[in-house]
């Protein structure tokens, strides 16, 4: 087994779930999150330049972010070019959602960049400057996206509610 084989296997076994959670927050879909992880692994390890295995998880996360933004951009473009092809509203995957499900649905109503800023800053805990570098934005733009995202989330989620008891 070569060094990259072992690194890839170790990464999937030890950090696979964390990568999927990151992808899930970005795209909001379990299957797509797995696809993001897989595609990012292939692209990262498929490049011989990425020899620094110590930082490979960072590479994978960066590729996942770019893949997500790229796919979101394509979907937006497709919707604009094919208005008649836009399907009827999808069944609500979060119909039975609790507070967390509401947040998941609210995240889906953010723009891809707003959502990426929220995930990077509030979930990955990256400072504004690093979010800006990853997203090729200036820090001011990241702050603006975060502000807009928080306002929108507050509109959707409303004031904090007590946890609901399931029966």
């Amino acid at each position: 087994m070569t060094a990259w084989d072992a690194a890839l296997t170790g990464l999937v076994q030890q950090r696979g779930a964390a990568l999927k959670r990151y992808g899930y927050l970005l795209c909001g879909d379990g299957m797509e999150a797995e696809d993001l992880v897989q595609e990012a692994l292939v692209r990262t390890f498929g490049s011989r330049r990425r020899a620094d295995i110590a930082h490979v998880e960072g590479y994978v996360r960066t590729v996942m972010l770019r893949l997500y933004l790229d796919r979101a951009r394509r979907r937006t473009l497709r919707r604009r070019l094919q208005p008649l092809a836009v399907a009827a509203p999808q069944p609500d995957r979060h119909a039975e959602a609790d507070l967390r499900g509401d947040l998941g649905r609210a995240l889906g109503e953010l723009s891809p960049r707003q959502r990426a800023c929220v995930v990077l800053h509030y979930y990955v805990d990256l400072p504004i400057r690093e979010c800006a570098e990853l997203l090729d934005l200036n820090p001011g733009a990241v702050k603006r996206y975060l502000h807009e995202a928080r306002l929108r989330l507050a509109e959707r989620l409303g004031p904090p509610q007590p946890a609901r008891e399931d029966h």
């Binding site: 990568l19 999927k20 509030y122 507050a154």
Partner: protein, 260 residues
């Protein structure tokens, strides 16, 4: 009103936890990575091969193929001392590893047999006073195999006098020309077996270095030697590949004295 940061972080953690475990088989991903790497290597190699072929074509056009008599072969003036004199490789300056007129041929790793394949150059036959000899090469093998090589008319031949290159080709540069060399290795193939040797006529090999003529050569043929070179021998399960000979690489070589 904006949601509380701490609450948002907690809620994001909770949403992320709904993702569940990653159901990904690393071996499948490794397979995809390998295919991607192969594809990238192939693309790079294809570009490199195209560049090499262009170079080889240009070099062959300049140097002239083994099948074409060179313009200096007939009735040339007397041999210049520099051609047959001491090898330029004896100087302190580094010399390129190309087959070059006037260069002393020093072969450190050039047996006539490799990997069960033996190459023997046959006795030379006189054709005409102004032409090079008729040359044949015979391959024998310890086990049946399919040999892949360049066509026999492009086998590397060198004429030597006192160990110094005085003619041959198709890879042969004029003195001082460091242009890289190569042979358009068309996938020529032939079978060979212990009871079935393969014999080839190498075609006209008339090229001599500047200032040397075949009349001069034939006036004292015993002073000259013919060497046929092949590159490294790679023995595979189904075929044996003869590479393009390079001066600083392993070679398959066979020598014979020039005779009428």
């Amino acid at each position: 009103m904006e949601p509380d940061d701490t609450s948002l972080r907690d809620d994001l953690d909770a949403v992320a936890a709904q993702a569940g475990p990653l159901r990904l088989d690393p071996t499948q991903v490794i397979g995809r990575v390998r295919r991607r790497r192969r594809r990238r290597t192939l693309l790079g190699a294809t570009a490199g091969t195209a560049l090499t072929l262009l170079t080889v074509t240009a070099v062959t056009a300049v140097v002239g193929g083994g099948g074409r008599p060179g313009p200096t072969t007939a009735g040339g003036p007397q041999v210049e001392p520099s051609i047959l004199g001491p090898s330029p490789t004896g100087s302190a300056a580094p010399t390129p590893s190309v087959f070059e007129c006037g260069r002393r041929l020093t072969l450190t790793d050039a047996p006539s047999s490799r990997s069960g394949l033996t190459m023997t150059v046959g006795p030379t036959r006189f054709r005409a006073a102004g032409l090079g000899p008729a040359l044949t090469v015979t391959f024998t093998a310890s086990a049946a195999t399919q040999v892949v090589s360049s066509p026999p008319t492009l086998f590397q031949v060198l004429y030597l006098r006192d160990g110094t290159i005085v003619g041959g080709g198709p890879m042969l540069n004029v003195p001082g020309d460091p242009t890289p060399q190569g042979i358009d290795a068309v996938g020529y193939g032939f079978p060979v077996a212990p009871d079935r040797p393969a014999r080839f006529d190498l075609g006209p090999r008339d090229r001599l270095c500047p200032s040397l003529s075949w009349q001069q050569v034939w006036s004292a043929p015993s002073a000259y030697e013919v060497v046929v070179l092949q590159g490294p021998v790679e023995r595979g399960p189904e075929q044996t590949t003869l590479g393009i000979p390079a001066l600083d690489g392993p070679l398959l070589a066979s020598r014979v004295g020039l005779s009428r």
